[in-house]
Every structure is written in structure tokens, then in C-alpha cells.
Symmetry: C2
Subunit: 340 residues, 2 copies
DNA sequence: TCAAGTTTGAGGTACGTACCTCACGGCTTC
DNA sequence: GAAGCCGTGAGGTACGTACCTCAAACTTGA
């Protein structure tokens, strides 16, 4: 049987109340006594039973997920994953609320964060922007001892915030390596598609992609970035124009959303298969594109993993429990048609 | 506040004892009354608090992991991951024992499984072989209501057993696609390395790899498989002989262990970089090989994920709790130098 | 209609921890 | 040596569920 507080008290030669005071860092215990208790804890290998503790504490984890509204299918996927966890979370004394904020509206995001009541919120997971108002709002949460994890987009790391998501520079480098390897000795131009170069994610992916192409594949040349605001319609229009303007295009890299537009253009193009196409995020559409050979590879991050990881990190911070090393690293996943 | 059994009793107009009898499927309740209680449960959205239940039940999860001894670095990794989980499992009323069995010794494996005392073992995760004696031992466990998951090697699925691991045919197909894509238009021969073709994993990977090469890359030709018993020394010897015998080798696929031998041969070979090399399992050695460009891609399965997934599945079966859909699928991961 | 059986209710204890109150002893301080 | 404070002990209740007992109420069949 595992040792309990009772055993610790007996072993230390003190009362149960004293052990309790030590365990929960309550005042009124001399240093010598604290040491005695801690020695006993170590000797017995006592470990606090978290379930029992939470039961006694009436601890309920109440987490808020703050995510951008509408927007792209990745965010929809993220929301779906949160909902999925929500269904099973009641059994674990966990309550999850989702707050949706207009995309890229930093003021609204900050306001939503400020509106979270510290008494009814034990942790926050947020798809943050880099804006100062948002960072300030997050800092205020930290001051209230509310743990925060930032999801998906890696804002410059602040104290007390954990980032859950992929390294987008590395993701871009991965895309670059795939593109270069798949093209082999072929030479020519590469089309770059992005949502907007004010998005940190897209800037970083571009940086990584460029690094690899420039240093290892000098027979390949990247065309200027086509920005589409992640809108499939705009993608279609501008991509068509670009394909018409250049005859020696061998590859296309879409570092943003708007894959549907890309797919439409390529399937319409009878000679579509001559290009190597690398894009981000596995969705219903990109999955089909891989299947039909329209796309060659997809770089993916697992939204479900991110959601669950965020929850584990928040809980661990609240319970003051260590995390399992490997579990919280979000992988840069590569999908071909064969490993979906 | 979440509803409790008390609330359910009040809502159903019965006593607490009756609700308890219904919840725990104890006899002595009329069907009408059961229906009343179940209606109340549905109406209130009552969900049993698992922590409290386990506390009351004095439930301790006692899991046994049965894995092959010694052998390759993947199994060592697996063991390390189990140990890692073990450290944090005490706080969750979970006890984990590891039993190591001589590799491929089905009799010893079956004996170990039979020696597990149903009273002190609430679930088993096992790297099984296909042997009848093993399958029978597993069937006996199931008869004792001990949930079983089979790890890593996909023995023909039996009732009551869940498989945690990758689809090795798909993994082979993925390797084939990578090989084909990386080679582009180049033509020539491909070296195939395997531990032993009596291992189901390796047979399946070979099947998948062949499928893709034959159907999509007819300029490539697979040489007969070189079996190495997963021994680096044998790999070195036979691979050297093979490389000397053929001048038009363009690719190497190692579907088994023994990567160290492969790496040694290739780094010694000054013209080593001319081959496209695809292998399995990310380890210290293969990681370095990716870094130096000796290897081009690694197909990987996450041992940590498999261990944790196995535990979640066993717990869910014991608690009769549903699982989270996406979490328990082990990915066929692809690693290049850039996304490690 | 009565005995035998079945179903239900009331109430208890237990699990391991958190947190509360009250009292007692020893110590310092004026 | 009395007042005040600090450290400690004793004992309690609570959390939500499991599981037990005993008696009361109900149903059933002859």
C-alpha cells in the first residue's frame, strides 16, 4: 500500500495537522519540524494522491480557450478538437469554455482576456497575436497567477507562458528540403503562396524555406511571394496569372491557407502534375489532393495534440506536477499519400 | 456545480442506495426503477466522478508491460519510455511492472503471461509474437477479464485485444514513395535490408515498399533482400559485398534494425552520398546520419506515444470510459534532417 | 390471505486529502 | 509572574463514490 499522510506523521513523530501544514505550505511550523516531516516524506516515498487532493479541495479545473473566429479550416479543426476533449472532460473535474474572437482583432482579443474572471478561470490557452495590448493582457493574467499557454503562433516567449505549437522556421525548412529532394536535378522556378507577410507564422516558414533552397539547391529560384489573405478566390486569380507568366515553374509551396483555390487551379490545369506541390495542414481537401497526386506532400501539425498538450501543461502548472518530457513536443509531421 | 448521485436520487424520486445499485449494476432493482434512474441521469447529465470512484474503490491500476529483452534500440527506447511514465504514475494510483522476456522465445513469453496473477494485475501490454502458445496465453488473460493491448507488432487481431502500433504495410509504402520521389527520374537498383523475413513487421514493410516501386517506378529495380538478423556486423559484411557486386545501385532501404552497420559502410564509402537511403526508427545514430546527409529520410514510430496510448486504452477499458478518437492512432512519422 | 420472496430506503463507514477550530504548552517580554 | 505569541496536537467535517447492513414495503403464488 502507498504511504499516506498518516504514515508520514507517524514516521516523523508529529501530528497529522503538522504534516498537513508542511505539505500545503501553511505557516506555523518551525524549520526543524519542517525538516523532520520532509525527511519522513523522502524516507517513505510519500506522494500526494492528486485525485483525493482535488476531491477534498473541490478543485475544478476551469480552462478558457481563446481562438480566432471563422477564418481558416485549421482553426475550425482546432475548435473541433477542443469540443471533442470537452465531451470527456467532465469526468475529470475539468470545464472548458471556448471564446471566439474576430481574427486578428487584437483589441477584442485583449478585451476578452481581460474579461476572464480569475475566480472562475484556472488557466488560459490562447491563439495570441504579437500586439502589445494582447501581451499586456496576458501579463495581467500571469500576475493573477493564472497559467497561460499560447497556441499555434509563437509570439516572442514571455515569462510564465508556455508555447504549444511547431517551430515554423523548421517547418519551412522541411518544406524546402522536400521540395528540393523531390525535384532532384530539375531546375526552374518555385511559386510561393502565403496568406499575409504580416503573419509571423508565414514569415518564419518563408525564411526556413528560402534558407534551404538558397543554400542547397541553386538550380531552383523562388518567385516573389504571392499574398492571398488566405482567400481561395484570390489564390486562384493570382496563381493563374503567375503560372501564365512563367514557363519554367517546377514547384509550388503554399505556406498559408487557401489550399482549395490552389487545388482548383491545379486540377483544371491538364499539365498540373508536372509541378511538385508542398502545402500545409491536412484537411479533407488536402487529403484528397494527396490522394489524386495533385499535392506531393503536406506539412502538418496535429491540432488535437496541441489541445491536449495545452490542457496537460495547464493542469501540471496548477497541480505543481512535473510533465512527461517527450509528450509535449508538437511534431512537424510530413504526410504523403501513403502515410495518412 | 456538477450533479452528484444525491441529485440523481432526488430527481428520480428514489433513494441513494438504489441509484448506487443501478450505477454499479448490482442486482435487486426492478426494470421500471432502473429506467427511472437512467432517465434522471440523462436529464441531469450526471457523470460519475472517476477520481472519487477510484478513491472509494481503492482502485489501483496495476499494469504489466511484457517486452523483449536485449535486442534492438527500439525496444530499449520503449523500455525507457515505460520507465519515464512509471516515475509519474504513482500520483495517479497506477503501478507499472516491466517483464523482460528473451527475444522471440514464445514459450518464455507465454509462461510469463500465464504467471501474471489476475488479482495483482489489472491490464497487460505486450509485444507479442504470433505463436499459438502466446495467443492462447493472451486468450486466457481475456477470459480472466484482464484487458490486453498488443504493442508494436500487429499480430492477427483477436477479440478483446487492441493493437497499438503502426500499419507496417503503409510504412513500407511510405518508404517506397520517399525513395521513388527522391530518386526522381534516376534509374537503377535498390538494396533491401531486413532483420529476418520471419518477422511479420519486416515482411509487411517489404510488401508495401515493393507495391509502390513496382506500380509507380518501373525504372527502379529491387535487389533480393539481404537478411541480417538485425546484427550490425552482418549488415556491414553483406552490404559491402552487395555494393561491390552492383555498379548501378541508387537507393538503399533498411526495413529492420542494424542501422549502425549501414551507417559505417556508407560513411566509409567516399561516394556514399550518391545513394538515397531510407531507414526506420529515429535513434541517436540515425539522427546523426540524417544530420550528416548519410541518410535521407527516417520512418519512425513514437515509442513514448505507444506506451502512453497503451495505458490510456487499458484504463479506459477498466473504467468503461470512452476514448478520445484521434489520440490513439500511432502515426507513421517521416523525419528529414530539418524536422527533428 | 398469508408466507415467501423481491425490491427499496435509511443510514452507516471508508477511501486520502484539505482545511478548520480550539486548546495546551513553552517561550519571550515587560 | 502575568500577558502575549508561536508551535503543535487533537479532533472534527467535507469532498463524491462504493459498498455494507437491516428493516420496511411491496409483490407474488398458493
Amino acid at each position: 500500500m502507498r504511504p499516506t499522510v498518516q504514515d508520514v506523521a507517524r514516521q516523523a513523530g508529529v501530528s497529522l495537522a503538522t504534516v498537513d501544514r508542511v505539505l500545503n505550505r501553511r505557516p506555523g511550523v518551525r524549520k526543524v519540524t519542517i525538516a523532520k516531516v520532509e525527511t519522513a516524506i523522502a524516507a517513505l516515498g510519500y506522494i500526494r494522491d492528486i485525485s483525493a487532493a482535488n476531491l477534498a479541495k473541490q478543485q475544478a479545473y476551469r480552462f478558457a480557450f481563446v481562438i480566432p473566429d471563422g477564418s481558416n479550416s485549421f482553426m475550425h479543426g482546432l475548435e473541433a478538437e477542443i469540443e471533442a476533449v470537452k465531451l470527456h472532460s467532465a469526468a475529470n473535474r475539468t470545464e472548458i469554455s471556448i471564446y471566439k474572437v474576430p481574427t486578428f482583432d487584437s483589441l477584442a482579443l485583449a478585451a476578452t482576456l481581460d474579461r476572464l474572471d480569475p475566480r472562475h478561470c484556472s488557466g488560459v490557452a490562447v491563439v495570441a497575436t504579437e500586439d502589445v495590448v494582447v501581451q499586456d493582457a496576458l501579463a495581467r493574467l500571469c500576475q493573477n497567477n493564472i497559467p497561460v499557454v499560447t497556441l499555434v503562433s509563437d509570439t516572442p516567449a514571455r515569462q510564465g507562458q508556455t508555447y504549444v505549437g511547431i517551430d515554423n522556421v523548421a517547418a519551412g525548412r522541411t518544406a524546402g528540403r522536400l521540395m528540393g529532394s523531390f525535384l532532384g536535378a530539375r531546375s526552374g522556378k518555385i511559386v510561393l503562396l502565403a496568406g499575409s507577410m504580416v503573419l509571423r507564422d508565414h514569415v518564419e516558414r518563408h525564411m526556413g524555406f528560402d534558407q534551404v533552397i538558397i543554400s542547397d539547391y541553386n538550380q531552383l529560384q523562388c518567385l516573389p511571394i504571392i499574398e492571398s489573405m488566405d482567400d481561395s478566390g484570390i489564390v486562384k486569380q493570382r496563381l493563374r496569372r503567375c503560372l501564365a507568366a512563367h514557363t519554367d515553374i517546377v514547384g509550388i509551396y503554399n505556406m498559408g491557407a487557401g489550399n482549395r483555390g490552389l487545388i482548383e487551379v491545379l486540377s483544371a490545369d491538364s499539365a498540373g502534375n508536372k509541378h511538385v506541390v508542398v502545402a500545409h495542414e491536412l484537411t479533407e481537401h488536402t487529403r484528397r489532393a494527396l490522394n489524386t497526386g495533385t499535392f506531393d506532400a503536406i506539412i502538418h501539425q496535429d491540432a488535437g495534440h496541441e489541445v491536449r498538450s495545452a490542457l496537460r501543461i495547464l493542469k501540471a502548472q496548477i497541480d505543481k506536477t512535473p510533465l512527461l518530457a517527450g509528450q509535449e513536443t508538437i511534431r512537424i509531421e510530413i504526410y504523403l499519400n501513403e502515410n495518412m
